[in-house]
């Protein structure tokens, strides 16, 4: 959630800057400022005047489907795993929490959890490994209140790589669970 806060602060800053300027900056200009000043933004945002508050909240709100919000944790749809491991790394717990919250709040939504493995090892064993990975994500989501029928687990093993090199980096990109809504 910290990321979201600092982001809204960033938007506050850019809006303040825009207000401060008498000219009408283009949207690209505004985006550029917000990108460059991310670090310093939170303090200024926190001290923001009452007058700018309403403008800020307008900026941070997402009116579309939360799944479409590129700044949301829900935008992270791939969870990566260590070699021959199906335990979810702790750095992904926040992402899984966000997806679980979304699914719990939208009981009609269904997600496909597609498990994958890198090319090392045998194909059918990797099918099992991919399924274990998808099931790890599923268990965490269930613990957060997501209904069983909102998740479909499919393992593709090593059959659908997302990276085709045989480097360690490529193999790391292939050890994954994709969340497909």
């Amino acid at each position: 959630m910290k990321k979201v806060l600092s982001l809204s602060a960033t938007i506050t800053l850019s809006l303040l800057l825009m207000i401060g300027c008498s000219s009408t900056p283009t949207t690209e200009g505004g985006a550029e400022v917000s990108e460059q000043s991310t670090g310093a933004a939170s303090e200024m945002g926190a001290e923001g005047s009452e007058a700018s508050t309403s403008a800020a909240s307008q900026g941070e709100e997402w009116y579309g489907d939360p799944l479409e919000n590129p700044n949301s944790l829900l935008a992270t749809r791939v969870i990566y795993f260590d070699y021959d491991q199906s335990l979810v790394r702790s750095d992904y717990l926040e992402v899984i929490q966000a997806h679980a919250d979304y699914l719990a709040a939208n009981p009609q939504a269904v997600v496909r959890l597609e498990g994958h493995a890198d090319e090392r090892g045998t194909r059918e064993y990797n099918l099992g490994l991919g399924e274990n990975r998808a099931n790890s994500v599923r268990s965490l989501m269930m613990a957060q209140g997501v209904a069983d029928n909102q998740m479909v687990v499919v393992s593709y093993g090593e059959e659908r790589p997302s990276a085709f090199d045989n480097t360690d980096e490529a193999m790391a990109l292939n050890r994954r669970v994709e969340l497909v809504y």
């Binding site: 045998t122 194909r123 059918e124 064993y125 399924e131 499919v154 393992s155 059959e159 090199d165």
Partner: protein, 430 residues
């Protein structure tokens, strides 16, 4: 070991460009291979055959690594029957055995093929046959002759007139893949695609009568096991339970399929009876249990399980019960299958960071690593037990390779384009 690198670019000039042929490369041969000369067959009468039978026989024998074949340019004469043979000329070349024969046209597209296998030192015939055939079967007739020669000189049946099933994957311009399940002659000729899909295809397995292939297809977004008639194209969906439907393996009597299902929450081994469609659960463990294979007597199964932490091979009765661990040597051993005589297992082992093909003697427990690749997988015994075909990587590309069971002969079979993998060697033709 002496390294013979011999490229046999096998393609028929009349073949359409669509059919990508396999290239066979013999990378290592055996010292003390039997010197043999296969003389070009005589073609009396009208209607010249489109296939050079002696060339096909020569390539088969050469490819096995058990024979040293004599180039045609070295032949002083070209006899087509024993009556024309000057044995002393062949002795001078160091040839121990000689194959002579004729292909005679007997009508529209039919032929009579005669051949004799001769012992050069004794000056006598070892075997000889007269075989009727057709234009479209000439290559197969040549493979059958090579089988007969192999058996009469080495004492075990040849496996040249068999086929290989394999998976191909081609990446298309739009980033999608086109998968194919193919069958080809054991020398890579006559490839035919029997299934195509935009979704993954896996784990082809010949039925014991060589008429059907079981495989895994992800069409429809989920895995299912299918059985398809190789020569009819008709197919049947065998299982499509929730979760994994994988690793089909035929029982030796062809009535049952062992397979992996995860419908119980994790992958376990089941046996599906093709006649009454009943399912019997063989393993029940929270680990990954997969890749079952039957012993030739049908009494037991081996399978991969990581119940001990890492994947290893276990053996269990075909009626279920307690599983016994079989492999102990390396930290990763998977996808085992039995040799036709039931004495050896071949499987994938992790050998100093590489995945390689190994054999293990079931009696002594001694394991031997046979292949030399980085990512070798899917080993499958030839029906005569002489060779193991497997999937390997050449750079990023999948290729097929074969190694003799004693590790002394190596071959590489590469399709001209795309990725080739998961070979399964057919049984003998019935």
């Amino acid at each position: 070991m002496k390294k013979i690198v011999l490229m046999l670019l096998v393609f028929l000039a009349c073949h359409s460009a669509v059919k990508a042929e396999l290239t066979i490369e013999i990378t290592e041969g055996v010292e003390g291979a039997l010197p043999i000369a296969v003389v070009p067959f005589g073609t009396p009468g009208r209607g010249q055959p489109a296939v050079d039978l002696a060339e096909v026989i020569n390539a088969d024998l050469q490819r096995s690594g058990r024979f040293k074949t004599i180039p045609r340019a070295d032949m002083l004469s070209r006899p087509t029957s024993d009556r024309e043979v000057e044995f002393k000329d062949w002795r001078a070349l160091g040839v121990e055995n000689l194959v002579v024969g004729q292909v005679e046209s007997t009508g529209a597209g039919t032929y009579q093929v005669q051949f004799q296998l001769l012992d050069v030192y004794r000056g006598q015939q070892l075997t000889g046959y007269s075989i009727p055939t057709t234009a479209s079967n000439l290559r197969n007739t040549a493979h059958r002759i090579a089988d007969i020669i192999y058996e009469s000189l080495l004492g075990i049946p040849g496996a040249f007139s068999t086929r290989v099933a394999y998976i191909t994957s081609t990446r298309l311009a739009d980033g999608k893949s086109r998968l194919g399940l193919n069958v080809a002659d054991a020398d890579g000729h006559n490839p035919e695609t029997i299934v195509t899909s935009s979704e993954p295809l896996m784990s082809p397995a010949w039925s014991p009568d060589g008429m059907k292939i079981a495989y895994v297809s992800f069409e429809g977004g989920q895995s299912a096991v299918y059985v398809q008639g190789v020569y009819t194209g008709k197919r049947q969906k065998v299982t499509s339970f929730k979760g994994i439907n994988g690793a089909p393996a035929w029982s030796p009597d062809g009535r049952k399929l062992a397979l992996t299902l995860s419908k119980g929450g994790n992958p376990d081994i089941y046996i599906y009876d093709m006649r009454n469609r009943k399912l019997q659960q063989i393993t029940n463990h929270y680990s990954i249990d997969t890749e079952p294979a039957w012993s030739p007597d049908g009494k037991s199964l081996v399978f991969t399980s990581d119940r001990g932490g890492r994947p290893q091979i276990y053996r269990v009765s075909a009626f279920g019960g307690k599983a016994q661990r079989v492999t102990f040597e390396n930290s990763y051993n998977a996808r085992a299958s039995f040799s036709p005589d039931g004495k050896l297992l071949t499987f994938v082992t992790q050998d100093e960071g590489n995945y390689r093909i190994a054999v293990q003697d079931l009696k002594t427990g001694v394991m031997q690593v046979l292949s030399q690749g980085r990512l070798d997988e899917s080993p499958s015994f030839a029906p005569n037990g002489s060779m193991i075909i497997y999937g390997a990587k050449a750079g990023r590309r999948g290729v097929l390779a074969a190694v003799s069971t004693d590790g002394r002969v190596r071959q590489r079979l590469a399709l001209q384009e795309g990725d080739v993998r998961e070979p399964d060697w057919s049984p003998f033709k019935k």
